[in-house]
Structures are given as C-alpha cells and as structure tokens.
Amino acid sequence: MSSVAMERQPAVTRGKARYSYFPLYRLRQLSWSVVRTILVMGICFVILYPLIVKFSVSIMDEMDLYDMTVRYVPKHFTLKNYETVWEYMRYPEAFMNSLKLSLLTSITQLISCTLIGYGFARFNFPLKNLLFGLVIAILVVPPQTIMIPLFLRFRFFDVFGIISALRGETLNLLSTYWPFVFMSATGMGLKNGLYIYIMRQHFRGAPKDLEEAAYIDGAGPFKTFYRIMLPGAIPMMVTVFLFSFVWQWTDTFYSSLFLQKLWVLPTALSSLVPNVSKSYSAEQLGMMVYLSPAYASMLNNTGSILVVIPLAVIYIFAQRYFVESIERSGLTGM
C-alpha cells in the first residue's frame, strides 16, 4: 500500500526534502505530525468506544450496571449474558440460516453484478446511457416505495400464469430464499446499483490490449471475459463480495419483508428483548414481566457482539483488499 502511495506522490516528498534543513520548517512538520496523531487517535477512539462499552457491558453482571464504582471493568465477571442470548436468539440456527442466506445472495450478486458491470464497461449498444442512468436510479429510489408490490409478487408468485395453470394456485415464496435469489440474480438486490457501478468503473479502467490480443487469437467475448478479464478483477470482486455479505448479514429491511418465518440473525436480534421478557412472563404464570431497561440493553449489547463477531473476523482478513481495491479502481473517475 504505502509503496504505491509513495510512487504516486514523489513530488510532495521531494519538495519537503528540499526545505528540510530549515529548522522552522522542521518544527512545523513536527508539530503537525503531533496534531495529526492526536486527531487520528481521537477519531479512532470515538469509533471504537461503543464497541468497547458493548463488550465490557456484555461480560458484566446486572448489579454492576447500578454500581457507580464500576466502569468498563466488571466487578462480577460472568458469561451469563452470553448464555441467555445464545439460547433466546437460537444462535446456532440463526447463524446457519444467516450464513446460507448471505453466502447465497452475495455470490449471486457478485456474479450478476460482474457480468452487468462488464457489459456496461466494454460494449456499445443503443440506449446504453439511459440504461446506465437507470442503474443509478435503482440506488436512489427508496426500496420502501416498491416494497408492497414486491411483497405481493412473492406472496402470489407466478410466471405468465404458468404456475397457477399447473398447480391451480400461485406459489407463496415468502419465508424462502427464492425472493433473494431472484432479486440478486437480476441485479436488483440490496444496494446492487452500487456494486454494478463499482464493477463497471473497474472494467473501464482495465487495459484494453489484453482483450484485443485475446480476440485476435480467436477467443469469443465470453471466453475473453472469463479467462482474461476475471482474474484481474479479483480484488474488486472481493470488495463487492464483502460489501454484499456484510450488508445482507445485518439487513433488517428485506429480511423482515420476505423472511417473517425464517429465523435469521437480524430478526433474532431485534426480537431478542421481547422474547426474553415473554418467556420470563410465562415463568411467572402469565404475569407480565418487564425487563429493566438496563438489563434489556445488556442483552442487546451482548446480542450485537454475537452478530458482529463473524463480520469482524471476515473484515480482519479482507480489509487490505477492501481498502486498496477501491483506491486503485478509479472508482471515482466517471
């Protein structure tokens, strides 16, 4: 990373080096680097702080929350919260369903968006600019606007009346993975306009020579795409995969719209507190038990940690790709 950046900005560094024997200039450099360090550390702290609080709360006992002398480090260390949350979120089940859903959608989206992006980047066809404008338009229209027609479409699913002719009734695809597969495969899933845009920018910036050479050697457009263009696009594809996996993993909108009966992590987390209080009420022979806000928040924090951990692991491995590929893609040049 740093080597690339240095190559790109030799002028600035050389310019600085020229002046570096002036003590005043030195001093200014030094004081700026002190200020910069403080700023960067401060911002990092603001970002990490809620995570730290979440984690420290999640290993506390409830009484620690009311204890004024306890800050961050729990007096009564316990994993009880994790046990409760694990049980009420039905974590293994939710995790497996979420994993299946996220993998399925992100791989489908990756394939479709790469193809579509390549089509927009390298071929000229009538109405191209209009169609690409529509790619941006699908980003701008809030999904809530088309939510109900989509919901009804998958509730009463039919292809030109064929299914109802065969089965006598329409299919109900709600609470299955199919709505996600259909929407991802056609580039209409969550934030897919953005992924198409990213892939198109990447392919536009890739050198044309390789492709031309492949065409001259007799490869067709699909073989050229598959054998020549795809290998170069891998860092970008990792980025798109990461985006789509993560956003699908935490998405509440589509999962609450299409998956009301399938148990996935976002649903599990948002219904965690109601479920716990319901089950406590059942233990009290139907007397309504309200969880104290502090305890509810404790459960929520523990649940958030459990949802976020898999993402954090992926991020640690993929963040190099993630940052670098966006920087180098020329994402920003229209």
């Binding site: 579509i116 089509g119 809530q144 329409t170």
Partner: protein, 307 residues
C-alpha cells in the same frame, strides 16, 4: 434477438448484441422487480388494497390516501419535516468530516494501515440491525453522552466543551443559529463519524488519482500548503463532493433508523393498510427527489471538471 440469416452483422452490431447479453439479467430485473412494481405502487396509492386468499383486490379511493397523509395523520408531516431537517444538518457535516478524514489518511504516517482499517470499521459494524439496536439502546446512549462530557470536561480539552464554546462564540458576536449548528455538530460527532465510512473511501480514492505533477508545478511556483489545497486539491476533488453529497442524502433518507421508513413499514405490516403505505412512500420519494434535485443543481454548477 432474431437475426435474419442473409444479412451479415457488422462487428459493431455483434458487439452490441454481446453487450445486451451481458446486461440481460439487469434488463429482466429492471422490468420485473423495478419498473413494474414502481407502476403498481402508484396504482396502489390511489386504492385501498385488500389481501384475499387467492390474491388481492383494489377499491379505488382517488386521492383519499394522500388526503389522509396530509390532512388526517397527525404524525406524518411532522416526521417528514424532522427527517428533512436531520438530513440538512447532517449531510454537510458528514461531507466535511469525510473530506477531512480522507486528507488525514492520505498522508504518510506510522500506523496508517491500522488507522484506515479502524476508520472503515463503521461501514461494516454500524449497518442495518446493529445501528437500529444501538439507537434504541439506553446504556450505549448514556455511555456516549457521559463520554462526550468526559472528553470535554478534561483539563486539557475544556475549551472544546460545548457550553464553553457556545459562550466563547456568543462573545464573538456570531449568528446564534450558526453557533447552535457548531455546538450541535460536536454533540453529534459519533453519528457523523459512523455515517461517513463510504464517503471517506470515495474521497481517498479521489485524492490518490490527483496527478503529482500538479503539486510539483505548484511547489516550483512557490505555492504554500494552503494555496495548494484550495487551488489544486479542492477543484480536483469537487466532482466527488457531488457524488458524496448525493450518497449521503440517499443514505440518510434510507437508513433503518429513519422515522419515515419506520412509518411506511408500520402502515403496511402492522395496520395492513397497504394503499396508505404506498401513498406515503410516494410522497416521501418525491420529497427526496426534490431535495436531491436542488442539491445537485446547486453543487454541479460549481463543480470543476478537467475535460
């Protein structure tokens, strides 16, 4: 695509067909999952929709749903106005902060890779359900406000404390509205930082593509850092300011914590009044488009393009 066997296609024609094949998934999706639902939802918004066991049926009510949104519903107008004000206050802060952060991260210093990884962490960790939970969470918001107090009551940083700052600014005879904005910004710092991950990436990518020869020339001419920033960096990056303003506006209108989004969902799934839900979704969508249009109109006049 049917081609007559006798007439041979030109190379361009062939390429056009291949292009259509590549984007064909998108064309299908556009028709089936976008244009068609969009038209349907306009129709729904003028109707009352009843779900039956075999499908649904529509009862035409004309402008009834829209009338209900504007004249009957006590919350709708207030919530939309709140969402818009929230957007107007947050977007400039997000854009300025992300530009600033990108400039910081573009410099050489030790631990830059780590700093970058942390700056982009919000993209991953504060999305969807996490941010929704966080927003309704008591402990986190308490901790955050106590942290903000703590950070500002420390001996070193006491000048930055919002109250102190407010008095200071008041004494300097500034416009009170402006003062309120600045101090509000400090109180909102966490929301602003977590909302600007993608924008930082975009700016950072843009900063890396500015040709070093421009800076070289400027140094030879004896330009100061300040001049280099305003005469080179800022104009070169201005198209991305437009991109980021658009992204931030859309992001602020569609995030799950947005009250209007919640209202639309509730109207559909708690009250089962699908027609009304479509109507408020459309009112909201038109509002978003108007604001987006105004913002783009204002900014794009001032954007500098190299070509």
């Amino acid at each position: 695509m049917k081609v007559k066997p006798k007439r041979r296609l030109t190379l361009e024609g062939k390429k056009a067909i291949t292009g259509y094949i590549f984007i064909s998934p998108f064309l299908i999706g556009l028709a089936v999952f976008f244009v068609y639902p969009l038209v349907q939802s306009i129709i729904f918004s003028f109707n009352d929709l009843e779900v039956t066991t075999t499908g649904y049926k529509l009862n035409y009510v004309g402008l009834g749903n829209y009338r209900r949104a504007f004249l009957v519903d006590p919350n709708f107008r207030r919530v939309v106005v709140e969402a818009v004000t929230q957007m107007i206050t947050d977007v400039p802060l997000i854009v300025i902060f992300s530009f600033f952060a990108a400039t910081l991260l573009n410099q050489e210093f030790k631990g830059r890779a780590l700093a970058r990884a942390i700056f982009f962490l919000p993209v991953i960790l504060t999305s969807g359900v996490i941010i929704a939970i966080e927003n309704s969470d008591m402990l986190i918001s308490m901790a955050r406000s106590s942290f903000e107090e703590e950070a500002t009551t420390g001996a070193v940083a006491s000048v930055v404390q919002a109250l102190e700052l407010r008095r200071l600014l008041m004494q300097s005879r500034m416009d009170p509205r402006f003062i309120g904005y600045i101090t509000g910004a400090i109180d909102n710092i966490y929301e602003v930082i977590t909302a600007s991950g993608v924008q930082i990436l975009v700016f950072l990518a843009g900063l890396q593509t500015i040709s070093p020869s421009l800076y070289e020339a400027a140094i030879v001419e004896g330009a100061t850092g300040w001049e280099k920033f305003w005469k080179i960096t800022f104009p070169m990056i201005s198209p991305l300011i437009l991109v980021n303003v658009v992204y931030s506006i859309i992001d602020s209108f569609t995030r799950p914590t947005n009250q209007v989004m919640q209202m639309i969902m509730d109207a559909a799934f708690k009250e089962s009044s699908y027609g009304y839900s479509s109507a408020i979704a459309w009112v909201y969508f038109v509002t978003v488009m108007l604001i987006l249009g105004v913002a783009v109109g204002i900014i794009s006049k001032r954007v500098f393009y190299q070509e």
